[in-house]
């Protein structure tokens, strides 16, 4: 990155906007600029030959594109935060159980035949409760390294929650509920509506506040516990606030899309390779990359086959080879 910070950010945002525009031109109902222009003309002049076109573009495609940008950015930001907090590159936002907790909430909602909105709410609450449990256990243990305690508590509680999910899968109706559960656990944006996108904005807004405001503290935290304390930072409070923010954005996104793995783990790495470990630059870079990556993957999800391909399958198969190539090509991000 030889460019100074601002031009790069402007360039990145412009690229993202172009990609989103391109994404609006890809779909099953008609690809290319034609349908988009026709729909725009219809919107402005109120005349059009195809009334369905407006439905497709504004009620189906646009919510997907917006959701891809928002969810991709949120997952990448949460991932970058977690990796910095735990000073460990192998950490993803799922570390403290937010995804598994959300899964249990949603799966229980599907099993109890709740309305869709209630299922989403159950996922959101489940994710938050799981993380609360893990951090609660972490607080109880005073003698050990707090980070290690959190990680171990996370592993144990996730195992418990996972057992609960498996149990419900066994009890679920194989024709009605099990497919719904399976698809939910693989993540998809095919059913995302405008209302879904709006409904998570408050939680996202609240969650992003600490991530953005505490950028500098985050940098100090990556130096280590003692160093941060000698600089006068209350590490415990900072850690709690940052975990709360990252958890809130992850739980919110998961509640409307289901589980989308891999982005929160790998996108921050790629961002680090590009802009280095300084969190003030890493966070926006990771968010743009995450948004762009999920845009691309969702375009594939809705166009490569006659049916919808779940995102969980694609994010890994598209991302893993690329990531391995980056590793082999020898760039380093943790120096």
């Amino acid at each position: 990155m030889f460019l100074s910070r601002r031009p790069a950010a402007v360039l990145g945002l412009a690229g993202l906007a172009l990609l989103a525009l391109f994404s609006m031109m890809i779909g099953k109902y008609g690809s290319g600029p034609g349908p988009l222009f026709a729909a725009l003309r219809q919107l402005v002049t109120g005349e059009g030959s195809d009334p369905l076109l407006a439905t497709v573009l504004w009620n189906v495609r646009l919510p997907r594109v917006v959701a891809a940008v928002v969810v991709g950015a949120a997952l990448a930001a949460a991932g970058a935060t977690y990796q910095g907090l735990f000073r460990n590159p192998l950490v993803s936002p799922d570390l403290l159980g937010v995804s598994v907790g959300a899964s249990l909430g949603a799966v229980a909602g599907i099993f109890l035949s709740l309305p869709v909105l209630a299922i989403q709410l159950a996922a959101f609450v489940g994710g938050l409760v799981a993380v609360l449990l893990v951090t609660g256990v972490g607080m109880l243990v005073r003698e050990r390294d707090p980070v290690l305690t959190l990680v171990l508590a996370g592993i144990a509680i996730q195992a418990l929650i996972g057992a609960g999910i498996s149990l419900i899968k066994i009890l679920a109706d194989p024709y009605d509920q099990l497919p719904a559960i399976t698809y939910w656990l693989l993540g998809s944006m095919t059913a995302v509506t405008r209302f879904d996108v709006f409904s998570i904005l408050p939680a996202l807004g609240i969650g992003f506040v600490p991530l953005v405001l505490l950028r500098w503290r985050m940098n100090v935290m990556t130096l280590g516990e003692e160093e941060a304390q000698t600089l006068g930072i209350d590490t415990l409070k900072t850690r709690i606030v940052l975990i709360a923010g990252a958890t809130l954005v992850t739980a919110a996104t998961v509640s409307i899309t289901g589980i989308i793995g891999w982005i929160g783990l790998v996108i921050p790495h790629i961002a680090r390779m590009l802009v280095g470990p300084d969190f003030r630059r890493l966070l926006p870079a990771a968010m743009m990359l995450g948004a762009a990556y999920l845009l691309v993957v969702d375009m594939l999800a809705r166009s490569i086959a006659s049916i919808e391909v779940p995102l969980g399958i694609l994010t890994a198969t598209v991302g893993a080879p690329f990531f391995l190539w980056l590793l082999i090509s020898g760039k380093r991000g943790w120096s």
Binding site: Q120, D173, Y175, T193, S306, I307
Partner: protein, 343 residues
């Protein structure tokens, strides 16, 4: 004033975009749905709905949930064999792509199955998003005839629906009557082994066993409690001592005969192992739709050969002609029924 005129124009535009004639139906979830008078293209949300639309009005089916296998296609009308595949509209994010659904330009979406708050709210959601009327139908087996009539009325094929519903009514009434004459101790306990290993089965009350119970058989696995599909151990199966074993896979039925452990069972000694036919749609389950009506005939024949004098071949021919629009020749018939696991 110009604002007012603009509003009037907008309202006029909205009205003109509505179909010329429409009617309201109240679906199984109590939702009032506006549907067009003439329904030409129907999108089935799941497998049971596909079967229902296919038997009533194959020409109106817009596509499949999954591509029919080659052996299934042999028993389907040529016109529908290669319809496009749309995937399943299930819960949050099925495999159906909303844009592809809209591109198919269906007049309505029909979903058949368990009616619950999840599905009612999903229907509302998809309907609000796409503007396509979305109708839920209760898919309980005992309601087969009612299901056919309701859906026939919606699709605008009441005469055909009546013919099929009459068959279903008659079938279930005859079954009821004959079963009444069979005492409880004469009713066999049946173990339905699914999968290649045959160790997956449905517990009491599972939708997979719905017609076994309807045919008066005792589900051997009911001893393990209520629930859906589950894995059981051979030990459990041996302890239940089923009189009859039904297999979903010929592999399993075949393997049983040479297996020293399974051979302990009286059902195996007596040769009462039967492979459940599964073409073009499952006869016992998968999917749990009106396709199971022929499963009733097969079960009667298989479980109570004395009470129901053998006329299974006729039954199958009639059902396939009436429901699936297919004339069976002798070879097809023999292949379908499988003549048990010896083949």
């Amino acid at each position: 004033m110009s604002v007012f005129r603009g509003l009037v124009g907008l309202v006029a535009l909205l009205l003109s975009s509505l179909p010329a004639t429409a009617r309201s139906v109240t679906d199984a979830a109590g939702r009032v749905v506006e549907i067009p008078d003439k329904v030409q293209r129907v999108l089935a949300a799941g497998p049971p709905a596909s079967v229902l639309v296919y038997v009533l009005a194959p020409e109106k089916l817009a596509g499949w949930v999954r591509e029919p296998k080659p052996e299934e296609k042999a028993f389907l009308l040529p016109a529908v064999r290669d319809l496009p595949v749309f995937g399943q509209l299930t819960g949050k994010g099925g495999t159906a792509n909303m844009e592809a659904v809209l591109a198919a330009r269906p007049d309505i979406i029909v979903d058949v199955g368990t009616v619950s708050a999840t599905y009612a709210s999903l229907a509302d959601k998809v309907q609000a998003q796409t503007g396509i009327p979305y109708v839920l139908i209760d898919g309980t087996f005992a309601r087969s005839a009612a299901m056919l009539r309701e859906t026939g009325a919606i699709l605008g094929v009441p005469e055909r629906a009546e013919a099929l519903a009459a068959y279903a009514d008659e079938k279930l009434a005859a079954l009821e009557k004959s079963l009444a004459a069979i005492p409880a101790e004469k009713r066999p306990s049946v173990y339905f082994g699914r999968g290649a290993e045959g160790l997956e089965t449905g517990l009491s009350g599972s939708i997979n066993m719905e017609i076994l119970e309807a045919a008066g058989a005792r589900n051997a696995a009911a001893a393990a409690g209520k629930g859906g599909l589950t894995q059981v151990s051979l030990e459990q199966v041996l302890s239940w001592k089923p009189d009859v074993i039904l297999a979903s896979s010929p592999k399993f039925a075949h393997a049983i005969k040479d297996d020293p452990l399974w051979r302990e069972l009286d059902a195996v000694k007596a040769g009462r192992i039967h492979v459940a036919p599964a073409l073009p749609f499952g006869w016992i389950d998968s999917p749990p739709g009106v396709n199971r009506l022929i499963g009733i005939s097969w079960l009667e024949h298989t479980l109570y050969p004395e009470a129901f004098p053998a006329k299974l071949d006729e039954d199958v021919r009639t059902f396939f002609k009436l429901f699936y629009h297919v004339e069976l020749d002798d070879a097809q018939l023999a292949g379908l029924i499988g003549r048990d696991a010896d083949r």
